[in-house]
Amino acid sequence: MPTAAEFDQTIKSGELIESPKEMTPEYLRELKHTLIVSGDTELISAPAYYLAAKRAPSINAFMTGIAIIQDELAHAHIAYHILEELGEDQEKLIFSRDPKSFRYPYAFDVPLDTWTELVVANGMYDQAGFCLLGDIHDKCSYGPWKRGLNKVMAEENFHLRNGRTWMKRISASGGSAKDELQRAVDWMFPLSVEWFGLPDDLKMHSTQLEYRLKGLTNDQLRQWWLSTVVPYCEQIGIKVPAHKEERDGKDVWELDYPFPCAFDAEAKLWDFKQPSTWDDVLVRWRARGPRNAEMVAMFQEEFHKFRKTHHKNGS
């Protein structure tokens, strides 16, 4: 194991870390934490998307939806597999954790109930995933993860395309279909903005950045997301509560509502007249949302049932 000073030097030099032998315990802990968030996010997107993909409007659309779910499971597998190499028990991580201890964005806890909501998730949530993973792919100091993301990026592009193509199609058809799309965007846009976490001025210190596990700050990632989603929505005639401003010769994306603010998950409604604090948001996140237990049970229950019936000795 390297000394703290040696390790610090390796990180500063831009070299990649290739195995646990080359890490300090602090780096290992932070890497594992980052991988768990990534694995959990990909994993939970599978039941979240599946419950909506069932409502696909054609066989081809259903196949696309299912293929996306398969990709997400494969991406989760990459993260959990690396965690296993780092000494974690993959089976325990997935099948024996309490639903509330899964570490994925709150957005997935709010049910996607229609095909329209699913394609908005592909257009907005997968864009968030694309920004976060793209940054890790670009900057991550842990070699095995960085390389594992090569294919992931191409696949996330495909998900985005599904989201964007369908959003455009639904918007163009107008009438009640377009109204439904607008309603979905109205509640899903602010949830995606929240995805990137605390604003930089509240987050004093980032070990993830220090260790080069990622390269961009929360606000930089959020700006990247806004710079792709806002123009696209405007282009297809969908309203979003954000606009572009020029500051010191640079484009900056500004939100048109207090950030953060109050959200009613059951009604899928934001109250832009009621600003809240980040402490309130953290309480909501930690309590998890409406669909957390149901989604985790979707893969955990059958695993344990199968175990019981197939391993009579309790092995």
Partner: protein, 101 residues
């Protein structure tokens, strides 16, 4: 005569993999008559999740060619696609991406 259409479709990327449709070997034939272009095309799998996107991209690209007023795509399954239908360039692209072909 149809060379320019092949060149055009060589610009259309597969939506899932970093390879174009011509190098992937899924374009079986192209004919043109009076501004109507007909394309015989297959998919690498019957359950191809990207088939809608591919059809859309092929139509959209060919309609940008001068004199083309209509594009008809026939999806064919005979002969079935195998990886042997890929060009050397297609093979290289997928290999560099980590797919054994």
């Amino acid at each position: 005569m149809t060379q320019r259409f092949w060149t055009a479709l060589a610009e259309v990327k597969d939506p899932e993999m970093p390879v174009n449709l011509v190098d992937l070997g899924v374009i079986y034939g192209i004919t043109e008559r009076d501004g109507i272009v007909e394309v015989d095309l297959t998919f690498t799998a019957m359950g191809c999740p990207a088939s809608d996107f591919i059809l859309e991209d092929v139509r959209e690209r060919l309609l940008r060619e001068a004199g083309v007023r209509e594009v008809r795509v026939n999806v064919v399954w005979d002969p079935p696609w195998t990886s042997a239908r890929m060009t050397e360039a297609g093979r290289d692209a997928l290999e560099s991406w980590g797919l054994a072909v």
